[in-house]
Symmetry: C2
Subunit: 234 residues, 2 copies
DNA sequence: CCATTTTTCTATAGGCCTATAGATGAAATC
DNA sequence: GATTTCATCTATAGGCCTATAGAAAAATGG
């Protein structure tokens, strides 16, 4: 199923001396567009990689699997990316960059801390809707990136944590939030709760908006007490 | 670095001559047979597998990696398990069985729903302390089990969800919990929050007990409001 | 329609990985 | 002490996987 032609014919060794790098899919914006429209299918290729990485994990996925999704030959992929590791980095980056930007916008925007926190929670789970595979890969496979790119991607991750924590601290100052919770642990709790959605969304019938609402109300008011106590956010 | 020429220190290790129950890790109950004390090192072998699987993921880990931890040859592992997949199943099983039992005991035991839920949260994160690698592997690698064993392991997982959900519903009936939260989504939120601990415990300075306390109070009372409102559990 | 440029293909080297076979030595048991 | 059992070793078959080289096909633009 995998290999099609029989192999065994030996050829004399030919040392390669070529060092030509296919220019990658990462920076696709060429300002001066005198160049041709090259690597047109890059987004499609990366989508396929995300899908396969999400399903089988980075090490469990083969480049053949990705090629199968696209109906091209395994070797053809290397026209689009120079290595499987680079493909992983591209996928991870797209998995985190968007919701980092959204989080930042919310944190620096207007609103009371409870409103901001509600926005953060909602915006954190919303990319799962249309970029679920990318988010999943970012969350579960970034640990397999080579050191340098892992640090690069990890930086965004920590920024998001900082944004949550800052809003929580702000709410404690304003008196909106209880002060006997640890901001760091609370941040990790909320992110854990939100990140888990990527792993089960699709098996549950609830919509992203619905999930967001439930999580926000749980976070702000907890389970105890009667329904409707306190002002609801949004 | 990998292979060595000298055989591992064979040191006339102190033999536990009277330790008959150490039957291998899979099916440890040998009812009557006065069999010899075979596969003595099984627990150690499985510990090493858990450690390596937790660190590199199932597909990223090689049997050579496991052997290196133990200072034995790669092929020697096959005296202890018949395949890498079976090793994964053993690790996953040990990662879930304990806290399933604990959860069940708490749910069927005495206490108000808030007390029970607090107990569930605490007991769910506590195995991370001394079985972190097993829990991690169960949470993140069980998807790579072959169908049959994945279903077997998944069954436990769903049981735990049911236990949480039942306690939440019970609390809604008694009036201890708000009734405008969805029990299913709340369950998934709490489990996501608790499971995430496995991924960052060890990088944070907080103890398991501390984390449990924070999570319980966040879950029951939420972030809003003044500190100390309402009865604290435990 | 020809020349370029872009995209995909065939073929395969070279490496690593799981799992099996059988040998070897050490321990336990008789 | 002889025999049996246990644990580990050496060696390797047999597969699969990434990545490279270079040819072929398809698209583009004059």
């Amino acid at each position: 199923m995998k290999s099609r032609s029989s192999s065994p014919v030996r050829a004399s060794a030919i040392r390669n001396s070529r060092r030509e790098l296919a220019k990658n899919a990462v920076a696709s914006d060429e300002p001066s567009s005198r160049k041709r429209n090259t690597h047109r299918r890059s987004p499609e290729i990366i989508d396929a990689a995300a899908r396969v990485f999400a399903e089988r994990g980075y090490h469990g996925a083969t480049t053949q699997d990705i090629a199968d999704v696209l109906n091209i030959r395994q070797a053809s992929l290397y026209y689009y990316f120079p290595s499987k590791e680079v493909a992983l980095e591209i996928v991870c980056t797209r998995g985190v960059e968007d919701f980092f930007k959204a989080a930042q916008a919310i944190a620096t925007g207007p609103g009371t801390p409870p409103e901001k926190l509600a926005g953060l929670i909602r915006s954190h789970i919303s990319p799962i809707l249309d970029r679920g595979d990318f988010v999943k890969v970012f969350l579960t496979q970034r640990q397999f990136l080579p050191n340098e790119s892992r640090r690069r991607v990890g930086k965004w991750s920590r920024q998001i944590e900082k944004i949550f924590e800052a809003v929580i601290r702000e709410g404690m100052k304003t008196g909106d939030f209880r002060t006997d919770q640890d901001p760091r642990l609370t941040t990790l709790a909320l992110l854990g709760m939100a990140n888990a959605v990527a792993s089960w969304y699709g098996n549950e019938k609830a919509s992203i908006e619905r999930i967001g609402g439930e999580f926000v109300s749980l976070t702000l008011h907890g389970l105890s007490g009667k329904a409707g106590r306190g002002a609801r956010v949004r």
